[in-house]
Symmetry: C2
Subunit: 386 residues, 2 copies
């Protein structure tokens, strides 16, 4: 097992009716900014529940944070934070709202220049941030209890990540009932996203991290069992609860502590979203099977373990079991409604050189758990995914 440092400070309030309890988690006297997205939380009553939980307190609101939240929009929220002297941010929505709110939090106290520099490849260090919390309505990214965020810049087509110790939500409210009204596409995306997050921390090479492996396999099995049911039975509380809890645990640091991590699929996928506007999870469903096929030799031991423990594939040669496990992964994504080929979205491959150019621009020249996926490899991975 590798050495690790694991920090999971976000307090989780999970279950039916938990929004009503969030008031006591926010410091008394705080001037609170509720941040949200396109307004679905107005229709499904979640915003009303949050307002009620904060009744009588100084509350402001900022809506309109888009999927793949943009610097341009978020900087408007930063102006509100400064103008209204906000000292607590409450993100209400999915991963995009949580991610965007993390950026608002650190950008609002950043004084060393343009907050865009906070994004990873620009390298500016974050030294403070406005405290934040999340009310999650879309299980997917795990952003509600980790310290990372992915931000896009509309003007340039960039999509970049940052991590900061000031960006852990202090608490997160997860009420599965809030997910009942989500469109099927968003539930499907969430299940695929959580699945791929888990795979990125699991399907690498063995380091005798037995607990981490068993936990990852537990999340994958749960998502395989409950994902299709979440589509078929949208108001089955336990199914939605299992999906929601899986998605949070897939990216709170726990399963990735002490083991190698891949993340090539995410890095390549980000470019597809930035250039072609595909949903994040749509890109993952396309790229992951291609990465697994391309790196099957280096991932052999873990692919065999994955085949046996997750897909119960015990017959045939090693190569047959590996092929069957990758096919099962593909079938699972397709069953969730997420195609696994670029062609399904009318992308014919002519943009692959431009996508690779963007990877280069973003420093993604050595991806994967061995940092050996070069730009040429990424090109082949994309070509095999046509």
């Amino acid at each position: 097992m590798n050495n690790f440092s694991l920090n999971t400070p976000t307090k989780i309030l999970f279950g039916k009716g938990q929004i009503a309890n969030l008031g006591k988690e926010i410091p008394a006297g705080a001037r609170i900014l509720i941040t949200y997205g396109g307004g679905s939380i107005k229709k499904n009553g979640v915003l009303e529940q949050v307002r009620k939980a904060l009744e009588g307190r100084p509350v402001f609101e900022f809506g309109g944070i888009e999927p793949n939240p943009t610097y341009e929009t978020l900087m408007k929220a930063v102006e509100v934070v400064k103008a209204e002297q906000i000292d607590f941010l409450l993100a209400v929505g999915g991963g995009s709202v949580a991610d965007g709110t993390k950026f608002i939090g650190v950008a609002a106290t950043y004084t060393a220049g343009d907050p865009w520099d906070i994004l990873l490849t620009r390298g500016a260090k974050v030294t403070s941030g406005v405290p934040l919390a999340a009310v999650l309505t879309l299980p997917a990214t795990g952003s509600e209890s980790n310290n990372g965020a992915v931000i896009s810049r509309a003007a340039t087509g960039d999509k970049l990540a940052f991590f900061s110790p000031f960006s852990y939500p202090t608490f997160a409210v997860l009420d599965p009932v809030t997910t009942y009204t989500l469109p099927p596409r968003q539930i499907a995306n969430g299940v695929v996203d959580a699945f791929v997050h888990t795979v990125e921390q699991y399907l690498t090479y063995p380091v005798e991290g037995r607990v981490q492996d068993r936990f990852s396999e537990g999340l994958l099995l749960t998502l395989i069992e409950e994902g299709p049911r979440a589509l078929a039975e949208p108001e089955n509380y336990d199914v939605r609860a299992n999906v929601m809890w899986s998605a949070t645990l897939a990216l709170n640091g726990l399963i990735g502590a002490g083991v190698p991590q891949d993340w090539a699929t995410h890095m390549i996928g980000h470019e597809l979203t930035a250039m072609h506007g595909l949903d994040h999870a749509q890109t993952l469903a396309i790229v992951l099977p291609s990465v697994l096929e391309y790196k099957r030799e280096q991932k052999r031991a873990k692919l065999l373990q994955y085949a046996e423990r997750v897909w119960n594939l015990r017959d045939g040669s090693e190569d047959e079991r590996i092929a069957a496990a990758i096919q099962a992964t593909r079938d699972f994504f397709e069953k969730m409604g997420n195609p696994t080929r670029l062609s399904a979205y009318g992308i014919d491959g002519s943009t692959i050189p431009a996508l690779v150019e963007k990877l280069k621009e973003h420093g993604c020249t050595a991806l994967g758990e061995h940092q050996d996926i070069t730009l040429a490899d990424s090109q082949r991975i994309l070509e095999a995914a046509r």
Copy 2:
């Protein structure tokens, strides 16, 4: 799934050499009290590593915290905390030292009377405490990252628990190398303790907590695989690492969040330790199989799941599989060197009425996940364990 609130604020520093990094986790200027037990940390070099990590800082030491730490000893440490104006406690050792240090922390700032009243059945509320952290040298209790502690009172033979929001260690250092020199009995006890902690949160009744079930099964499988190896190969780093990480995760709140919990085995076991001086884990190995047999009807569904997923028992009738799973549990404890009968310790059953009287005195009149294990049931469970 049941509603839950989950708080895991303890930062984990895991791995070889991590003791060297603890200095920066303790606030600058803090007056630090290192607490420890019988002195094994002097022999194995751990105390020296800790001292080195804190070189040049105001450090005091308090040794002699015994297994099943006593109120009498801990109150002496409280005097040191007050006299030396200590503002950070660093527990170096196993669960007893961590538990004892938690009591020192809250007792030192308790002003409403005798700190013994903090123990659960005496009901006094804790409103503050001296911050603490732990350097773990004996994987077993999970105390290094939860907010509970069990304290004994030598004068009366009582053994009682408390939980406080001020008793979470701020960080915990887990270096598997520090466990190499542990006597086999302590490693065996630790594995059994972690196993039973997991079972207490798993073998109840189904509530569709699929992730919790899979995680619990993952810990049990890891302990079954690695427990005997930890005895056979004391300096196998990965084996010790897997045992250590399993023990922490078995009782940090995670696997028990949102599911019913039993704890009858622990409550009955505490009385055996208090009256007969058995090690904590020795009592668990005796009581658990008896509880499972006695409650097999109420636990039927989970016992069948346990039989299949943990022990791979798929053949025979339901009753046969349940019997085989309980027998496998018994065999595992015996293989670890922990007998599963009172008679192995020369306890003939004549003290059972007195043990039940102690349970009554400590309010343990309705144990288990259904709170339906009466004193008469506990008596039968003990009699069946002779």
